[in-house]
Amino acid sequence: MLRFFLSILLMILALATQSVAQSDPKALIDALGKADFKQAEDLLGQIAASADPRVVPALEAFNDGDLYVRKSDGAVFITRASGANLALIDPLSGAAAGEAPKGAMTKLKINNSLRRVLRSALGGLTLLSPDRNVRLSAADAVLRSPSAENLELVEAALAKETDREVKARMEEARAASVLSSDRPVDQKRAAIETIGSIGGRDAISILMSASASLDASLKPDVDRAISKIQSSLAFWDLGQNVWYGISLGSVLLLAAIGLAITFGVMGIINMAHGEMVMIGAYATFMVQEVIRTSAPQLFDWSLAIAVPVAFLVTGAIGLVIERGVIRFLYGRPLETLLATWGVSLILQQTVRSIFGPTNREVGNPSWMSGSFALGGLSITWNRLWIVAFSLSIFFGLLILMKRSAFGLQMRAVTQNRRMASSMGIRTAWVDAFTFALGSGIAGIAGVALSQIDNVSPNLGQSYIIDSFMVVVFGGVGNLWGTLVGALSLGVLNKFLEPSVGAVLGKILVLVLIILFIQKRPRGLFALKGRAIEA
């Protein structure tokens, strides 16, 4: 250990003699080229302490893995890919410094500890940026990895800050930095107060990690602040759980809603339903592939484009299946199970042959990434969009069924085929398009599920049983039943999970469904009249 510090000391001495000033950023950055992770951390500390804003691009490049050292002379450059070569940029001046083949350069490696130091250093250095958003995220970075070195920078920035939100965030960042500095006790007490008022898990985390080094007299303050946060969190936890339940329910709803048509309305035990979802997800993948190669600027729109594509593709496949197989099997629901099982095997293997057995990457558009806080709730954007999406599909379908001519015909055919036929409805045509509609909706569900799950040939299999449970639990032939069924199963699952664990929770839900069906053999919302008999 001692030897290690000595060597660092020696190195710093060497640097000092080499360069004009000890904190000459150029020399420090060049030294990064030779440092291991531990030494690099120390160097970064010095670079941050220099408070020289010119180093920001170099540090950013380091963070992004764009900082390289030239093998020949050990000079460090920011690089941009330029064909097979790397375009070199001077780390401080930003001036172009020619090109070099990749082989002549070595990438500067970075690990998590370094990343943490970089985040803090960059936060401190960009506190004075003219861009409001950069200042805000800088304050955030300082708040998340507080260090005593940043304290003065924060205070200097705070003095100049005019924007209300940024200022508030900087106050918090300052408080966090104060806790890890050697400021007097009363300043720290005020800081604990400030952190405590932020609330949430992050605040607890900051307080807990600071508490070890704090003066013993501050202990009660810390405890008070933490217990205050925890009591408010306990309340929000309940809401958070409900939200998780709703979000799980919306996924179940998405998976089940196409089945509610093919199985619920038409009475086909459609084992190929899961494969329609899977094909929808692959359609999303294809759309994104095309966009990536030909129009990358449209990437954020990829899902919006994928929805109609998936609907048409899976709808068309559904149409073919109905015309080719299922239309011969009406009135024999249990045999539809066998035939669609065969169809599902073939579809799975086809997808496996075309796309390979491994997962395919479907990207999240920027508007579906990340999360936001709503009071004490933390809500992720992708889940929010999926809830909204599934509900809008549900209501869209409801309107189609109840308000459109096609919906009317569809209901007429399922309720009394012969009567509908004698009224001049082309029942075969209605059957085919009803099945296509159900398949198409399953495809749309696949678009959404591609955002949260694997896109692999097995995707459908993992949802098929849950989908059947939802439809049966809710009541076959009733869309509202599917909605209520999906949401209540989702919430139930999420309330069981924390107490009994995910595995047992799932088993209990299944047992409860079995028991529930004993009580109401036709599900939650039993269809009156000529129910679909199997």
Binding site: R332, Q349, M469, V472, V476, A531
Partner: protein, 389 residues
């Protein structure tokens, strides 16, 4: 009248099938043990175990046919009874390993030792006795079927709803047996058996006996099933299948009839599982997978539902095909399997045996059957109208 005609025809067939099975039970082990390996008549041990496995599947399909073909209960969870029977036998075989396990613990199976269990869970006690294990092979699936059926049939859960909750049952059991805390070895299951009743499970002789036993059990269950469906009870059973409410209005306790059949069928499935395990050498939660149970339905449908012999042939054919295609066309066999299911449902709706029977029965019988079907359809419509009102 018509049905009695069919039954008489079937009786001869059942007899023939039993004779074939018993002959196979005798000849295959003989061809395996008594002939020289290079003789043309020799059947390698590999093939004996393979055929033994098919026979166990055939018994499972037969059990399903009893409830599906004759009682109209489409169980998508029959694999669960099969697996439970298998687990009971597997537990016995695990206990027989004794101190020959890798850790040499005389009481605890290996998986419990390395997961740091200190003593045997209560449900493992007694499983070292063969008679007790055999009892459990019958009792555990039977009891589960009884409890499940007791609730389901009394609440008149039927049709698709029943199918789906049987699927839920096997799925729940799948998840439960995957849990290591359950004490059944988690996903690795029970394996690496040494001996059964003191005979090495790997010895050719033991394999031959197990094979013969599977064939004998299958014929025994075939006779029992045939006896059930040919009795007066069997006719009521078919009545339940075709017009449940009528039978109920006639004063029969439909739920008890269903329950009895369901329990008998579950026990048969349990026996199939128990014979399966020592021949295959492993039982693990994968047997509970809903897809497996659906496959059983497929075998039954391929062979011909409601014919008793059909499921046996279906199980052997599909599994034989699977063995062949997974080796010959590893990349494409799923296409063949999928196409088979679609083809059978579209072109052979009565299954192989059903279609052949249909042909053999001649035109007159066919016509009569059509009429019967039509009248059945009419009553179904009448029932529906009644129900609607």
């Amino acid at each position: 009248m018509i049905s009695s005609f069919f039954l008489r025809a079937l009786e001869g067939r059942i007899l023939a099938a039993v004779a074939v099975l018993l002959a196979v039970a005798l000849l295959v082990p003989a061809a395996n043990l008594l002939t020289a390996p290079d003789s043309a008549l020799h059947i390698p041990t590999y093939a004996v175990s393979l055929m033994g496995k098919y026979l166990c599947y055939a018994l499972l399909a037969l059990a399903l046919d009893l409830v599906w073909g004759y009682c109209g209960i489409l169980s998508l969870g029959h694999g669960a009874f099969f697996a439970l029977g298998g687990y009971a036998m597997g537990m016995y075989l695990m206990r027989q390993i004794g101190s020959r396990g890798v850790y040499g613990n005389p009481d605890l199976p290996d998986f419990m030792v390395f997961l740091n269990w200190k003593e045997l869970p209560w449900f493992w006690h007694g499983m070292d006795m063969f008679w007790f294990a055999v009892l459990m092979v019958l009792v555990v699936p039977g009891l589960l079927a009884f409890i499940f059926g007791w609730f389901a049939f009394r609440s008149r859960v039927n049709g698709v709803y029943l199918s789906i909750i049987t699927q839920a049952m096997t799925y729940a059991l799948l998840l439960a047996f995957f849990r290591n805390d359950m004490g059944f070895g988690g996903n690795n299951g029970l394996t690496d058996y040494k001996e059964i009743l003191g005979f090495s499970v790997q010895a050719d002789g033991t394999r031959a006996v197990l094979f013969a036993l599977s064939a004998i059990m299958l014929s025994l269950c075939l006779v029992i099933s045939s006896g059930i469906v040919r009795s007066k009870f069997g006719k009521v059973l078919v009545g339940v299948r075709d017009a449940e409410s009528r039978v109920r209005f006639l004063g029969f306790r439909v739920e008890n009839i269903k329950l009895f059949t369901f329990v008998v069928s579950a026990m048969m499935a349990g026996i199939a599982g128990a014979l399966f395990v020592p021949q295959v050498g492993i039982i693990n939660p994968g047997e509970f997978a809903p897809a497996n149970s659906i496959e059983v339905v497929v075998w039954t449908a391929v062979g011909g539902r409601g014919t008793l012999i059909g499921p046996i042939i279906g199980a052997i054919l599909v599994n034989g095909g699977k063995s062949f295609f997974t080796g010959a066309f590893p990349e494409a066999w799923l296409y063949a399997l999928g196409a088979l299911f679609i083809g059978v449902t579209l072109f052979l709706p009565k299954g192989i045996v059903g279609t052949i029977q249909h042909r053999f029965a001649g035109r007159r019988a066919a016509k009569a059957a059509d009429e019967a079907e039509k009248s059945a359809a009419d009553t179904a419509v009448a029932n529906q109208i009644q129900a609607a009102e």
